[in-house]
């Protein structure tokens, strides 16, 4: 599924580039090539290759244990790869680790913080560790506090803050040195719905000025915040596309379901629709308002036009017709569930 077939769309610069029509300018801020990481002999990730252009918000999606955190830890220099390379802004995470790390803001999965410190002094410490010039430190601390909505908490001890507020402190420390790239590992894990929404808003706002890679095993989160999704399963990349394209691709491969309300004779409806090429099953389940509720399963993608024509030509009354759209959830299940061969 890697590089899954896209429909022929408008001209894309990366395609022109590949064809040699444009000079190659490194557009990608994050570049990952054949990344593999073993823990003892167990592979956590295998041969991951992807790149993230400047300004993109990328969602890293996969079930628990798929290798999301491992990838992020390599991207932040916390772990080294077993083979392959990863670079940020052209700096390799192994060979030029410090230069690469200077450009990264990282929120680890567990939101680790020095609990005995106060918010502002913790952020000040992080400024010093990340090489913010002395003259700019105050302004950077103030700004990250402002952006993360911690203005009235700046002198509170971190250990006494609620889970949601700690998450904001975690985000504040990730942006305090104004990095180009933000790497957020499960930024909303363990938050209540209100806090989750707040955090998502914050990430969206940050995405306007930063390149973001965030991981999640929660699907709505990714479709709500990301322009592009990488799906990873058992350490391998299984999909790389926009949330909408992914849904369409899988619908195309899987066929789709169409729900109609048709007025007419039950048996006749079944026979006429069932005879259409591409239709697999027709289920007339109940008399609804104004006709029968009919569910058509098709092997082809989107058969709405053919079905509508068939109904009208047969002289039935068509009251309702809608394609059941696949959610990212269906895509995810489709891609990460092993199908019997």
């Amino acid at each position: 599924m890697v590089g899954s077939h896209r429909e022929p769309g408008p001209l894309r610069f990366d395609r022109l580039e590949r064809q040699g029509a444009l000079p190659t300018i490194p557009l990608a801020l994050i570049e990952v090539q054949g990344l593999t990481r073993y823990y003892a002999d167990r592979p956590a990730i295998q041969d991951l290759t992807f790149s993230v252009p400047r300004g993109q918000v990328l969602g890293f999606l996969g079930p628990n244990g798929a290798g999301k955190s491992t990838t992020m830890r390599i991207l932040t220099g916390y772990l080294g790869p077993s083979s392959g390379t990863a670079s940020v802004a052209g700096f390799d995470l192994v060979a030029h680790s410090l230069e690469a790390r200077r450009r990264i803001g990282y929120l680890p999965e567990t939101t680790p913080l020095y609990k005995e410190m106060r918010v502002a002094s913790f952020l000040g410490m992080m400024c010093r560790l990340r090489g913010v010039a002395p003259a700019k430190r105050r302004a950077r601390v103030d700004e990250s506090i402002e952006v993360c909505g911690l203005a009235d908490r700046r002198h509170e001890v971190i250990g006494r803050l609620s889970r949601g507020l700690r998450q904001r402190v975690g985000l504040a420390q990730a942006i305090v040195h104004d990095p180009e790239v933000l790497i957020l590992d499960e930024p909303t894990a363990g938050l209540d719905p209100a806090q989750t929404r707040e955090t998502r808003e914050l990430i969206k706002a940050l995405g306007r000025e930063h390149t973001i890679v965030l991981s999640s095993h929660i699907l709505p989160e990714v479709s709500a915040t990301c322009e592009r999704v990488l799906i990873i399963n058992n350490g391998r990349l299984v999909a790389d596309d926009t949330p909408a394209n992914l849904a369409r691709t899988v619908a195309g491969a899987q066929g789709g379901e169409i729900e109609m309300v048709v007025e007419g004779d039950q048996g006749e409806i079944e026979r006429r629709l069932g005879a259409l090429p591409g239709v697999e099953t027709v289920t007339v389940d109940a008399a609804g308002e104004g006709g029968w509720r009919v569910i058509v399963k098709a092997s082809k993608a989107d058969m709405r036009d053919e079905l509508a024509r068939a109904v009208v030509e047969a002289g039935f009354g068509l009251r309702e017709l809608s394609a059941r759209t696949l959610s990212l959830e269906d895509v995810f299940m489709h891609l990460t569930t092993e199908e019997p061969a």
Binding site: G77, P112, R128, L129
Partner: protein
């Protein structure tokens, strides 16, 4: 250098707000006063610094230093904050040095507290300039600084090996006791030529020159190499963790 100082300051502050830091300080002041000074004096013995120094070498160095250093890396690991440090643009040796500097700084503060007894002796002993051997006292403090530097480095190394503070404490305690008493205990029970090696490499034997009033290059180098060696291993350990 700013990285080392930043990490050291955070750790030192953490020691001051933690009960462990205050318990260590209180225990040390209590024991060095009671066993080192008050009891000998009440018992009619001459007031000297010997008792205070004995408490430092037999209790502060091997037992309390592991308490000071046990959190150092173990807590950062179990809390996950090590991830913040090691993904910041900070070199591994700077992290190790910062951790060591905090522990050593706390030790120096405890050591400084015992200077009060030197002052007391100087004030209350008549003709103290003749009786009180200030040179010997200075040499011993010099030795204690060197031995403490080595012991804190070893404690930090032990803390880097585990994420459990209790394990870290016992590991440091064991290593420190082994090194300190290698000469007197292992050297006593082993046959030549092993005993000569132990006697030569034992911490307490190497400390002897300082407590006799000499600051020798050989023994200073011994403690310095222990400190630098332990910090070097800690740095290697931080890097090795990336590849495991």
């Amino acid at each position: 250098m700013i990285h080392v100082a930043t990490i050291a300051r955070r750790d030192l502050m953490a020691l001051f707000v933690s009960p462990a830091g205050w318990v260590v300080a209180a225990l040390f002041v209590l024991l060095s006063s009671a066993f080192g000074f008050v009891i000998p004096v009440l018992g009619g013995q001459a007031a000297t610094m010997d008792g205070v120094f004995a408490v430092i070498t037999s209790f502060l160095l091997p037992v309390l230093i592991p308490v000071i250093t046990m959190r150092s890396f173990a807590e950062e690991r179990s809390e996950g904050t090590l991830e913040l440090l090691l993904t910041s643009p900070v070199r591994d040796w700077e992290v190790a040095a910062g951790k060591w500097l905090a522990a050593f700084g706390f030790y120096v503060l405890l050591l400084a507290a015992t200077l009060a007894y030197v002052v007391l002796l100087a004030v209350y002993i008549p003709r103290h300039l003749e009786v009180l051997d200030l040179g010997l006292i200075a040499a011993t403090y010099m030795g204690l600084l060197l031995a403490g530097g080595a012991a804190t480095a070893i404690g930090v190394l032990a803390s880097g090996l585990t994420q459990n503070q209790i394990v870290s404490f016992f590991l440091a305690l064991t290593i420190l006791l082994l090194i300190w008493y290698a000469g007197t205990v292992l050297g006593f029970f082993t046959a030549p030529p092993a005993n000569a090696v132990f006697q030569y490499a034992g911490g307490s034997n190497r400390f002897q020159s300082f407590s006799l009033g000499q600051v020798t290059l050989k023994d200073s180098v011994y403690f310095l190499s222990l400190a630098i060696g332990a910090l070097f291993l800690t740095t290697r350990l931080l890097d090795a963790r990336r590849w495991r």
